[in-house]
């Protein structure tokens, strides 16, 4: 766990990618985890960027909130959390 944890970035690092997908800087937008209900800025989510794609997970329960994959046909994303833009 430790080694993996130390490879972790957070939502701040993928602000540009979030902007590409959603058309706005969403790092300060608040997301609610569908699994544990934690509410906080997307910047606080753990970002795993070394997979083929980016996975954002809840730092509270490790639940997947958002997956973004760049494919030859463009960006694909799956969103599980509820996002409130501010």
């Amino acid at each position: 766990m430790r080694a993996n944890e130390e490879l972790t970035l957070d939502g701040n690092a993928v602000g540009g990618l979030l902007d590409e997908v959603f058309g706005a800087d969403l790092t300060a937008a608040v997301g609610t985890c569908p699994d544990c209900g934690r509410r906080d800025a997307l910047a606080t989510l753990r970002a795993y960027t070394y997979a083929p794609g980016v996975v954002l997970r809840c730092p509270g329960c490790d639940g997947v909130q958002l997956v973004i994959v760049r494919t030859p046909r463009g960006l694909r994303h799956q969103l599980r959390s509820v996002i409130e833009r501010r």
């Binding site: 957070d10 701040n12 602000g15 540009g16 997307l42 910047a43």
Partner: protein
């Protein structure tokens, strides 16, 4: 020009900061004023089309026009940071986009204060943009920086930090591995006692920024919340050693 558009920046200057850290001055044809704490995405493209991309915090003040400084630590086996440290020379060009980020940002004229900054290693880089910004606009908001480094020689911006520690800015160093003779700062990892000592004069309402390796960020944030700092006033930025 918008912040998502990739542009070709020219590296005009490379400044060694420590044995493993260098600052790169990038001249930007499409310069956009940033907010202190924001970053740029930087990408390298190999002749075969393979691309590697990283995000690096801006170290310079937003008030400096036309160019930015990125301070980058060389990471073991890091394909981007190693290239930047060992191959790039002034005059070379790299692809960047930014500025990016709307969360870990501070504006000296509107964000209020006081401000508590907690940094580990190269996590001090966005804090440096904040301190340079504060100085550039002549803000009076009180700022305390608690900065953890391994050794004296690993302290990034050591001399400039010392010169910035005036007029309401106080800087507290801790050296976790070894300390020079006569060292009067802290000499251990950041812990509850240290955070309580540094944050106490600011009370529970301090706007707090924490940036560094994940374990440091999480323990410092948890510790400050236990010390009743308001969680919604604590902003964090984590980086893994193989990434940024």
């Amino acid at each position: 020009m918008n912040t998502l558009q990739w542009q070709i920046a020219t590296i005009t200057k490379i400044t060694p900061e420590t044995a493993k850290v260098k600052s790169f001055t990038l001249s930007l044809p499409g310069w956009i004023k940033h907010r202190a704490g924001q970053h740029y995405d930087l990408r390298l493209t190999a002749p075969d089309g393979y691309r590697a991309q990283r995000s690096y915090s801006i170290a310079s003040a937003p008030e400096r026009t036309g160019e930015i400084d990125l301070t980058i630590e060389r990471v073991e086996d890091g394909e981007v940071s190693t290239f930047l440290h060992q191959v790039v020379v002034p005059g070379d060009r790299v692809e960047v986009r930014g500025p990016i980020g709307g969360y870990f940002v501070w504006d000296a004229t509107t964000s209020g204060g006081p401000v508590l900054l907690v940094a580990g290693g190269s996590g001090v880089v966005p804090m440096m943009s904040m301190l340079r910004h504060r100085a550039a606009v002549g803000a009076k908001v009180p700022v305390r920086l608690l900065y953890s480094s391994r050794t004296y020689d690993d302290v990034i911006y050591r001399e400039e930090l010392a010169s910035l520690a005036t007029g309401g800015v106080e800087i507290f160093h801790t050296l976790t591995r070894s300390q020079p003779a006569g060292w009067t700062g802290y000499a251990r990892r950041i812990d509850d006692t240290m955070l309580a000592e540094v944050s106490r004069p600011f009370g529970a309402s301090a706007l707090t920024f924490i940036c560094g390796p994940t374990p440091l960020v999480e323990s410092a944030a948890t510790s400050l919340e236990r010390a009743s700092l308001r969680a919604d006033r604590i902003k964090t930025e984590r980086f893994g050693p193989t990434g940024t």
